[in-house]
């Protein structure tokens, strides 16, 4: 019973080379696309989409860099785009082939990691902020400092990732999240160590479930995950602190080793198309980069949701992560010392 049904759908997937149809190899984050989208693309463009998923930028980078894999389209985040461009891993995208690039919100174009969008086009994006339970936190949440408030001892969940957590401390201190100053980094490290007695735990993917289950009062999350949590539990709210925060972008890009660049460009253009963007947005629930979809959603029951529709003034106080080059090792060491305390 279990084996019979996939057989039919997979015969074409097995060989890859057994038909004349062109094949596009797509490497995306897990659960980052509507399930019907690849099938629609296959039908419209008479091709086969081979689809694989990964769970972190680093894993994707390692795989693409080290193996003889033949992926065409990948979805690196901001700092990873910069790193991959530096190493010549991404191909220039021919914008004349992507008329739907016009659908992308102007304020999201030309971010620091790829100022001319030559190599990457924003797919989903969002901010990092504080997700909190309004029944447990009475005062207004508008500053990172609340994560250092003794009243919430043992009720704070931090994000278990070196750059995200250090960014919280750096921003709270008023520094850049991309700082290359050892002193500033040291201060941030000490601030995080001082916070440790108050922290319940450092988690990643289970934070949302814990917040829905009301097991903690405050946590650091990505806005996309905050939206999902707020849908499930009405007492939850999200805030991007006034000191500023990180704004992140997951982009779509073509590898320089792609053997089918034209089809890859068709695919990117297809993802930027309004109806497809809508399908993906409804499935993924992260902020869409597509302005028409965003406008349409403004008239849905999501209207006025500042977590989803990041206001211009919030975007203005956020910065993207940049590739730190060799200096990233200092961040890793600082984070190790925080976790090891």
């Amino acid at each position: 019973m279990l084996v019979a049904s996939p057989l039919a759908s997979c015969t074409k997937g097995g060989g890859g080379g057994n038909s004349d149809k062109p094949v596009l190899y797509v490497y995306n984050w897990g659960t980052f696309i509507d399930k019907s989208v690849n099938t629609i693309f296959e039908e419209e463009f008479g091709c086969t989409v081979m689809y694989e998923t990964y769970d972190s930028n680093e894993a994707m980078y390692q795989k693409v860099k080290g193996s003889t894999s033949n992926y065409d389209v990948v979805f690196p985040s901001d700092y990873m785009v910069e790193k991959m461009v530096k190493e010549g891993m991404l191909a220039q995208i021919d914008k004349t082939k992507i008329p739907n690039f016009a659908n992308i919100q102007t304020r999201l174009k030309g971010m620091d990691y790829d100022p001319t969008n030559t190599y990457s086009i924003p797919y989903f994006w969002g901010t990092v902020g504080i997700l909190y339970n309004t029944t447990m936190v009475e005062e207004p949440v508008d500053s990172w400092e609340i994560l250092w408030n003794e009243d919430y001892k043992g009720q704070i969940i931090m994000y278990d990732s070196q750059r995200d957590s250090l960014a919280v401390a750096l921003k709270a201190l008023g520094y850049s999240a991309n700082t290359r100053s050892l002193e500033e980094l040291k201060e941030a490290e000490e601030k995080l160590i001082a916070q440790k007695p108050l922290v319940m735990a450092y988690y990643t993917d289970i934070i949302v479930d814990m917040m829905i289950g009301e097991e903690a009062a405050l946590s650091v999350v990505y806005s996309g995950d905050a939206i999902m949590a707020m849908e499930e539990n009405e007492d939850l709210a999200y805030a991007v602190p006034m000191e500023g925060s990180n704004v992140w972008f997951d982009n779509v890009a073509i590898l320089s080793t792609s053997k089918n660049k034209e089809l890859a460009e068709e695919y990117i253009n297809f993802l930027c198309r309004d109806d497809i963007s809508m399908l993906n947005t409804e499935e993924v629930m992260y902020s869409t980069a597509n302005k028409n979809v965003a406008e349409e959603l403004q008239e849905s029951d999501w209207a006025g949701n500042d977590t989803y529709f990041v206001p211009d003034n919030v975007l203005a106080r956020c910065e993207v992560f940049l590739d730190l080059g060799e200096f990233v090792q200092e961040y890793a060491n600082a984070w190790l010392r925080v976790k090891g305390q």
């Binding site: 279990l2 897990g30 998923t53 795989k63 289950g213 499930e232």
Partner: protein, 260 residues
């Protein structure tokens, strides 16, 4: 009193082993997407599961790879074990061979995974099902060898000599004397290889490509945003299938013992 404590201990062990599976199964019937909040009974994740192309293709490759890797690694492993057993007269070579066999077992998966990837890359092999299968065979073989060797050591070494004295050819002696003697070791090795292959994430991740993905890779990359209850549904079905198989196997072996 002691008896009661013993029973309590057994029950505690069983609870720790099976409670997670039970929770997983219960939440596969949850109408809500969360794994913590109960939103009412629903079968929708089971329906969604069978129409999910990504999961179905991952399941297909997982089973194909596990079956093929089990068959091949059991054959290679058994032959290797017999060969290593025959080295009894050369203890130093045998120890050397055994240590080489241990290396992949104690090597962390990530090292095995990346080194295999580099080898495939060096050979310009096209990443895909074949490379994943080869890597699975690679890490399964040592376990088969380790399960078969003790059985060979237990076997009376004069049995083969006796068989050949009585006119059996070496091949005939292998088939009729050696294989039946070590049969249970081979089955253990095969089962071990099968479970290892189904379980593996790290080595598979680095050695697949061309759209081929197994369940571990799918689940691991989906975990970033909370795992869809479809995965609970699939796991429940798999546990159910394995349980039925075990019950049938137990009933049969029970009958065999009774008939003896």
């Amino acid at each position: 009193m002691v008896k009661k404590l013993q029973n309590l201990y057994i029950y505690l062990v069983l609870v720790f082993l099976y409670a997670p599976i039970l929770v997983l199964a219960v939440y596969s019937f949850n109408a809500s997407k969360s794994n913590r909040v109960w939103g009412g009974f629903s079968l929708k994740w089971y329906v969604a599961l069978f129409s999910d192309r990504e999961i179905m293709s991952a399941l297909y490759y997982t089973l194909m790879c596990a079956i093929a890797a089990t068959v091949v690694s059991t054959i290679i492993g058994t032959i290797s074990a017999i060969g290593m057993h025959a080295l009894n007269d050369f203890p130093r070579i045998k120890a050397f061979a055994l240590n080489i066999n241990y290396l992949p077992v104690i090597n962390p998966d990530i090292v095995t995974g990346i080194s295999l990837m580099l080898v495939f890359s060096f050979a310009s092999a096209r990443m895909g099902f074949v490379t994943m299968l080869i890597s699975h065979i690679t890490f399964c073989v040592p376990y088969v060898v380790l399960s078969v060797l003790p059985k060979l050591n237990q076997m009376d070494k004069h049995l083969i000599e006796a068989a050949m004295d009585l006119g059996a050819s070496p091949m005939f002696a292998l088939r009729k004397i050696v294989l039946p003697e070590i049969y249970s070791g081979i089955v253990t090795g095969a089962l071990l290889a099968f479970t290892l292959s189904i379980d593996d994430f790290v080595i598979s991740f680095f050695n697949t490509g061309s759209g081929v993905s197994n369940l571990s890779i799918f689940i691991y990359s989906a975990a970033r945003r909370g795992i869809s209850p479809e995965v609970n549904a699939l796991s429940t079905l798999m546990v159910l299938c394995v349980s039925i198989l075990l019950v049938v196997a137990n009933l049969r072996s029970g009958k065999e013992i009774a008939s003896k």
